[in-house]
Symmetry: C2
Subunit: 538 residues, 2 copies
C-alpha cells in the first residue's frame, strides 16, 4: 500500500493505450494506471480509477424492503421451484450466489437449471465467483437464460466470455469491491440464493457444520443483508434454533432442503496445496527474509496469505520464523488454510479472521475454536465502511499472472488474453496492507511473467510494493522506505533487470490479438474503472 | 397470541373512552383496544392499532450514509467531547444509547453532561431505556439540552414526565418496536453511543468481557446498523482484533476510552431476584401446572421469562418440571438470568438466545458457552423482518401493573397514573408466543391489580391469554382451545370474578386525575398507536 495520491504518475503509463486505436475518443478517459477506459459501459457510468484512496462515497447504503412474517407462517418450501415462484423471480432480475463450495458447488447449477425449466429468461447472474464446475452455464448463456454476469469467472466460463462475449460485458470486482457494490445498491440483487451446510426451517444458518460443511460464509453476508429476497438452500435441516448463526432468520424469506448442496472435497482446489517446486520454495523463503530484514515481523504482526502454492509456503516459513523468534502475531486474515490454523493452535497468532475457508482443516477449526472468527467480506475489504480488516494488515502475499514494469499486477487474464480468473481479494489486500508482496516465477514455461505492460490491470501499481521472483527481488521505487530498510541485507534489483533476464531466456512473447469488443470490465474496489478486457481474436 | 383479527371486538371496549371528553373529535380515532387516540402527535402521523398482525409494512429499511476510513486513519479519540465534535453533533439531532448496564450505567450521564457543557441544546434522547441512575437528566430537560425523549422511562424520569410533560410527548416502544422504528428510519439516530466492556481501537467490541462486562449487547445492534454515526465508549481497550465481535468495526466511526462505563452490580436491579412471597410462589407453581395441564410442556418447549420475581420463580419451577419429566426444550429467549443458565448447563434446554443478560451468572455464561448465543433486538422482536424469535416461542410469562376485564395489560403506568416503567419486550413476547401468561397478585397493598379498564394499554388483549393470580386463574374467552385443554384439570374463573373478589376486599380504587395534555405515546410494536399517557393533575 502506498498512501500517496496517484496524481502525477500518469506519465509512467503514457504508452499503455495502444489497444484502443479504434475507439471513439470522446467516450474514453485516461485513468491513473494509464489505461484509456470508457466513460459508460452497458448504461453504467464510470469514474476513472484515480489512486487507491482518492474516492470518498457520498451515497447511502442500499435499503431493501421491510418484511413481515407472522407467527403462523412457515418459511420452509418443498422445492427450489416453489421458492423461485414465491419470491416472484422474473425476466430482467438479478440472482446471486456465494462460492464457498468453490469447485464442489451444486447450487448455482441447480437453481439456474430450475429457472431455465420454468421458462424464465434474461437473468443477471451475480455470483461471488464461478468455477469449472459451472461450465454448463454456457448452455444457459447460449439459450438466453443468463444474459449478464457480474462476478468472478474462473476457468471455462471466463474463456467462453473471452472468445464470444455476452450481451453485456461481465463486471469483475474484488471481494471487497463486490461487497461495496452490493451494499451501495450498485449491484442490486433481487434474489440471493444462500447455500448452507446447516439451517433451521426459519433460516438461521451456517456453513460450519453438516456433511457439506465449507466453513466461513463471509460472501453471503452482503447479499443476505441487501438482497430484496433471500432463499437459503440446505442439505442439513436441524431443529430451531441452529447455531452458530452466520446468517440470521431476520434476513431469510424462504428455506429449501435439497439432497446435496455440493461436494466439500471440491473446496480444496489445485491452488490450495503448498508448492513442491524448489524455485517457488525459494521465493517463499525470500519473502520471509525480506520482511525480516525490513523489520516488519515483530509482535503484533498481522498478514493475509493468498491462495496458491507459493503463498502457502510463505505462511509456513513465516510460521517457522515467528516461532523460532518468539514472535506472536495479532491476526491472520484469509482465505484460511490448515497452515494458518497451525499458527493459531500453537499460539504464534492470537486470532484468525476467516472470510472463506480454503481447506477442510480450516473448516473444522472455525466450527470449534472461538479465536477462529468468521467475518463477512464487507468486514474483510469493503472500502466504503468505517474501515475494513485489510486496513490493519502489515503484509500480504499474493500471486499474479503478470506484473509489469510499473508494478501493475494482472490476476485476471493470461498473456494469451484469456480471462481465466477472478480478482479475489487481491485489490483489497494490496490496498490495505502496509506491504504488498507479489510472488511470481520469472517464467511460466516459456512465458515471461514480468511484462512491459500487463495484459489487464487487476491491481494498480500504487498498492504493489515488492516483487519476489526466483531470480531476484524488485521493490516499487515509490517505496524508498523499504529500499532503505533492507539496504545491505537483501539484494534488490531493478524490475527492468528481471524483465530483461526473462526476455534473454525466452525472447519477447507474442502479443494476443484482441477485437474492439469489450467483454469484461475490471472495476477497482471503490467502483471506479481500472481496465477492460476485450474479446480475443481467434 | 391470538391470530384472529381484532375486528369485531371493538364493542367490548365501548366504555373505554371516558378520559378523552375534552378532545377535539376530528383529530382522534378509535383503535382496536377501544382507545381514542390522536391521528397526529408532534408532527408524526399515526395509524390506529388494529390487531397484532393487521399491518404489513410497505417501506424500506433506513439507509445510512456510506463511509470511507483509509488505512492510515485512526478512530481512537482522547475524549467524548472530541468524538462529539468529530461527528458534528448539533442542535436538533438525536442521540441513542443502549441500557445493558441498566441502573449501573455511567455513559448516558457522561455524554449528556458533555453535550450540555459544549453548549449544545435541543437534543432528542433515544435511549433503549433510562433508569433511576439517570435522574440527573431532569436537570438537562429543564435547561433545554434535552427537549424530547423516545425510549423507555423507569422511575424518576417517568414520574417527572407524568407530572410536568416535555415539549414533545415521550414515545414509548417495546424492544422489538424500537428496533423496528430504528430499522425503518422512523426513529432516525444521528449519533449512537455504544458502551462496550471490551473494544479495540478500530471499534470491534462486546459486552461480555472486561471489568464492566454486562453480557449480551442486543439493543446496540439496531443502532449500530442504522445510526448515521456510531461512537464506541469503552473502559477496556484491547489489542486488535477484539473478539467476540458483537458490533463490528465497519459500523463504528470513533472509539473513546474512559475510566469506567458503569458499575456492573447495577445490572441486577430489584426485579431480578426470585420471589420469597408464598403467594407469588404459588402463582408460579400454578403457571407450570396450567401449561402442563394444557399439554404445552413437551420436547422442544421454548419460552421467554420476563424479569420480575414471579417470572423467575416460573423459570425455576419449569426447570424442575422439565427435568423430572425428561423434557428437553429447544431454547429460552431473554432477558437471561442464572436460572435459565442452569437449565442450559444441565441439558434441560438446548440453547439460550440472549438479548440482554440480567445477572452476572448470565454474563459469565454468554462469554463462555457457545450454546448461549447473543441475539439482537431486531432478531428478538422486530415485527418488520423475515420473522423474529418471539414468533417461535411456545409461552411467555410476564408481569403487569394492571390487567383489565378485556385482558388488556398495563406495564407502563401505576394505578395512580404515574409513568414508571418501559414496555420492555412485553408486547413482542405476547404477540409472538403461542400462550401469553400474565402473573399478578390480586392486590398490591390495598390496590387491586385487575381493573375495569387499565390506566394505560401497554399490551393489547388480542395477545394476552391467561391471567394467573394468587386467587385464581382466568383465561381470555377467545382462547377456547386453552379452556378446553385444561377442563377438569385446573379451575378456571371468569376474570370478573377475580375483579369482584378484589373490590370486595379493598373497595373500588380512586381513579387518578389527568389533564388533557399528552405526555407520552404508547406505540404498538408495528408502529401503530395503542394509547397515550396524560399529565397527572396534582
Amino acid at each position: 500500500m502506498l498512501l500517496e495520491s496517484a496524481c502525477g504518475n500518469t506519465a509512467r503509463y503514457a504508452y499503455t493505450s495502444n489497444t484502443l486505436i479504434n475507439a471513439t475518443l470522446f467516450s474514453f478517459m485516461l485513468n491513473a494506471v494509464g489505461r484509456e477506459v470508457p466513460e459508460e459501459i452497458a448504461g453504467r457510468k464510470y469514474k476513472p480509477y484515480n489512486g487507491p484512496f482518492s474516492f470518498k462515497p457520498t451515497g447511502r447504503r442500499y435499503a431493501p424492503p421491510l418484511k413481515a412474517v407472522f407467527p403462523d407462517e412457515s418459511k420452509l418450501l418443498p422445492s427450489i421451484k416453489d421458492a423461485i415462484k414465491k419470491v416472484g423471480l422474473e425476466e430482467g432480475m438479478t440472482i446471486s450466489f456465494h462460492h464457498h463450495l468453490r469447485n464442489g458447488d451444486y447450487v448455482v447449477n441447480m437453481v439456474v437449471d430450475t429457472i431455465a425449466k420454468m421458462g424464465i429468461k434474461n437473468i443477471k447472474l451475480a455470483p461471488t465467483a464461478l468455477f469449472p464446475v459451472h461450465e454448463k452455464l454456457i448452455e444457459h448463456i447460449k439459450n438466453g437464460v443468463i444474459t449478464s454476469i457480474e462476478g468472478s469467472l474462473n476457468g471455462p466460463l471466463g474463456e467462453y466470455v473471452s472468445r464470444h462475449g455476452m450481451k453485456e460485458p461481465v463486471v469483475l470486482r474484488s471481494h471487497g469491491g463486490r461487497a461495496r457494490a452490493v451494499r451501495s445498491g450498485e449491484l442490486h440483487i433481487d434474489v440471493a440464493f444462500i447455500a448452507a451446510s446447516m439451517a433451521d426451517e426459519y433460516g438461521n444458518c451456517n456453513g460450519m457444520l453438516g456433511k457439506s460443511a465449507f466453513g466461513a460464509m463471509g460472501f453471503a453476508y452482503a447479499d443476505a443483508f441487501h438482497a430484496d429476497n433471500v432463499i437459503v438452500i440446505t442439505d442439513n435441516l436441524q431443529p430451531y434454533p441452529v447455531t452458530p448463526i452466520s446468517i440470521p432468520q431476520i434476513y431469510v424469506d424462504y428455506v429449501v432442503e435439497v439432497d446435496e448442496i455440493g461436494d466439500p472435497a471440491g473446496i480444496q482446489t489445485g491452488t490450495m496445496r503448498i508448492t513442491k517446486s524448489p524455485a517457488r520454495l525459494n521465493i517463499a523463503k525470500n519473502v520471509v527474509k525480506f520482511l525480516a530484514s525490513a523489520g516488519i515481523i515483530k509482535d503484533g504482526f498481522s498478514f493475509q496469505a493468498g491462495a496458491g502454492g507459493t503463498s502457502l509456503a510463505v505462511t509456513k516459513f513465516l510460521h517457522d520464523y515467528m516461532k523460532e523468534n518468539g514472535i506472536v502475531g495479532d491476526f491472520v486474515m484469509g482465505g484460511i488454510t490448515g497452515y494458518v490454523v497451525d499458527m493459531l493452535h500453537d499460539g504464534t497468532i492470537r486470532k484468525i479472521l476467516d472470510g472463506q475457508s480454503f481447506d477442510l482443516k480450516a473448516v473444522e477449526s472455525i466450527a470449534k475454536d472461538p479465536d477462529h472468527v468468521e467475518v463477512s467480506h464487507i468486514m474483510f475489504g469493503d472500502p466504503h465502511t468505517c474501515g475494513c480488516v485489510v486496513n490493519r494488515q502489515h503484509a500480504c502475499f499474493l500471486g499474479a499472472t503478470e506484473v509489469d514494469l510499473n508494478f501493475n499486477v494482472n490476476v485476471n487474464t493470461h498473456s494469451d488474453g484469456l480471462l481465466l480468473h477472478g480478482i479475489g481479494g487481491h485489490q483489497d489486500a494490496a490496498a490495505g496492507s502496509d506491504i504488498t508482496v507479489i510472488t511470481i516465477p520469472l517464467l511460466r514455461g516459456r512465458v515471461p511473467v514480468i511484462r512491459k505492460e500487463v495484459t489487464t490491470v487487476s491491481t494498480p501499481s500504487h498498492t504493489v510494493d515488492v516483487i519476489v521472483t526466483d531470480r531476484g527481488i524488485a521493490v516499487n521505487p515509490e517505496r524508498e522506505d523499504l529500499i532503505e530498510a533492507v539496504k545491505g541485507k537483501m539484494e534488490i534489483v531493478d524490475i527492468e533487470e528481471l524483465y530483461k533476464k526473462a526476455i534473454n531466456l525466452v525472447g519477447e512473447p507474442k502479443e494476443p490479438k484482441f477485437s474492439d469488443e469489450i467483454v469484461a470490465v475490471v472495476e477497482y474496489r471503490d467502483g471506479t474503472i481500472l481496465d477492460v478486457v476485450r474479446k480475443v481474436k481467434e
